[in-house]
């Protein structure tokens, strides 16, 4: 392969070359970061040291577990809520409700936190409720767009097989869109981690990695801040890989290619 081809858009490239490029670019970025004279960011060594300190003295891993539990509960709850709303939206009566849920994505949490606080009465439940709310509205939006793009022929196909009403919804949305739902859950998991700091900031006493991050940030302990960010990044990427694997297992048809065969 000519190296110049790597500069061309859509040029075919072998997986080995992609891995090599990623490794080279990561190494270059780390070298630049470590040896640059520009001192706005702590060095990788300082961040590593801060990470060890956070683990030893501030229970970073225990706080991470608190946050991970909240994140997973919110992910499950939001996926369930969004899929239920999307299924209901196939009936005209519930379409306004679904549209309203999608429209709420433009709103911040101000005001809602008070309502959720009154209803939940527990810091962890409050966090789960707010996170789930934040995730659900985006997932509903994406699912509604996907359902709107569904060709009428799909519904006709179900009807020609004698299916009716909710059976069609079950086949086309729950089963037929399982891959889309799992993809959106991956996206939601990432959204959850970005919202976590905000949500845990409301109830810092209940701990969590977001609360720890805010505390580090308050005292301008930048090495600690980036150590926590790096931890979130690694956990987020691992969670994403796990969900991608789950999708491949649950929806194998997504990764299948056509096999050459005779007509």
């Amino acid at each position: 392969m000519k190296l110049v081809n790597l500069m061309l858009p859509f040029a075919p490239v072998r997986a080995r070359w992609v891995r090599l490029l990623v490794a080279a670019q990561v190494a270059a970025a780390l070298a630049l970061w470590s040896f640059s004279g520009y001192r706005a960011l702590p060095t990788p060594g300082e961040i590593g040291g801060a990470w060890m300190d956070l683990v030893r003295h501030q229970d970073l891993l225990a706080e991470l577990w608190v946050s991970l539990r909240v994140s997973l509960m919110a992910l499950g709850l939001s996926t369930l809520a969004a899929v239920t709303i999307a299924c209901l939206s196939t009936a005209p009566l519930f379409m306004p409700l679904a549209r309203l849920a999608a429209a709420l994505r433009f709103l911040g949490f101000a005001g809602f936190t008070y309502v959720f606080m009154l209803v939940s009465g527990d810091a962890i439940v409050l966090r789960v409720a707010i996170l789930a709310f934040g995730m659900t509205v985006f997932m509903v939006t994406a699912l509604l767009a996907d359902l709107a793009a569904m060709p009428r022929g799909r519904i006709d196909h179900c009807r020609t097989l004698g299916m009716q009403h909710w059976r069609i919804t079950g086949e086309l949305v729950l089963l037929g869109k399982a891959d889309v739902i799992l993809d959106l859950a991956r996206q939601n998991a990432a959204i959850g981690w970005t919202l976590l700091t905000l949500v845990e900031g409301l109830t810092r006493s209940a701990g969590g990695i977001g609360a720890l991050l805010l505390n580090q940030n308050r005292y301008f302990l930048l090495a600690g801040v980036f150590a926590i960010q790096a931890t979130i990044l690694v956990v987020g990427l691992a969670q994403d890989a796990l969900l991608a694997w789950a999708k491949d297992i649950a929806c194998p048809w997504r990764t299948l290619d056509k096999e050459p065969s005779a007509t």
Partner: protein, 275 residues
Amino acid sequence: MNAAPAYSLGERLLTIDNVSVRYDRPILDGVTGHIDNIRRQGLMQGQVVCLLGPSGIGKSQLFRCIAGLQRPHSGSVRLNGSGREVQPGEVGVVAQDYPLFDHRSVWSNLMLAARRHGRDAHEATEACLALLKKFGLTDCGLRHPMMLSGGQRQRVAIAQQLLCSSHFLLMDEPFSGLDPLSKTAVCNTLVDVSTSHELNTIIVVTHDIESAIRIADQLWLLGRSRDAQGNPVGGASIQETYDLAAMGLAWDPDIESRPEFHDLAAALKARFATL
């Protein structure tokens, strides 16, 4: 000149009675036609009707009405001489993109259709196995639809619809975009389906005049009437029918070698321009 094969007409299988559909303008205007059971001594002879017409004339609307997927604004479509209008699921429909559930395997697609027709698990399994064998798909049961070739996918889609319909099959443009060999394969499949049960009735919506003549026993030309200046007026209706069985042009595997085939194809092409 070949002698027309002997046949007789039996009971009425499908009646299209004065079907009209209009939205902002009339689309279909009094479409009327019927299909009777064709009987041939010693043979299981189903029926194949090809519906020809130019693009945008309303073939898809008529297709949906016959499938029971859309209620006409007036008129009715009835099956088997009953007074009841056709219901979705009674007529199998194979759309142009050969719809199947991509999230299910071929076997699961077929079983879903078989079970919905009221068969128990054993009967459904037997029916699916028989169709897989009939269509040369025995190796494809565990595959997902996106692993199939176009021809295999079409055959699975036909099999799925045959499992749950009551002998009626509607096909939308099955020859579209196919090379001559593939067209022959599709023609053979359709003839095979039509001759596998006395009551099997296939209605094919197509632009492909030659393929239509090869497989049909009746041709229906859908078009709009013209005023004195030659402008189309009103909605579409059946402008002309060709009874190929009566003309001695049906059920002949070598029909393409006969001059009548080419004469009819030329006449239909000329007529097509005025529909």
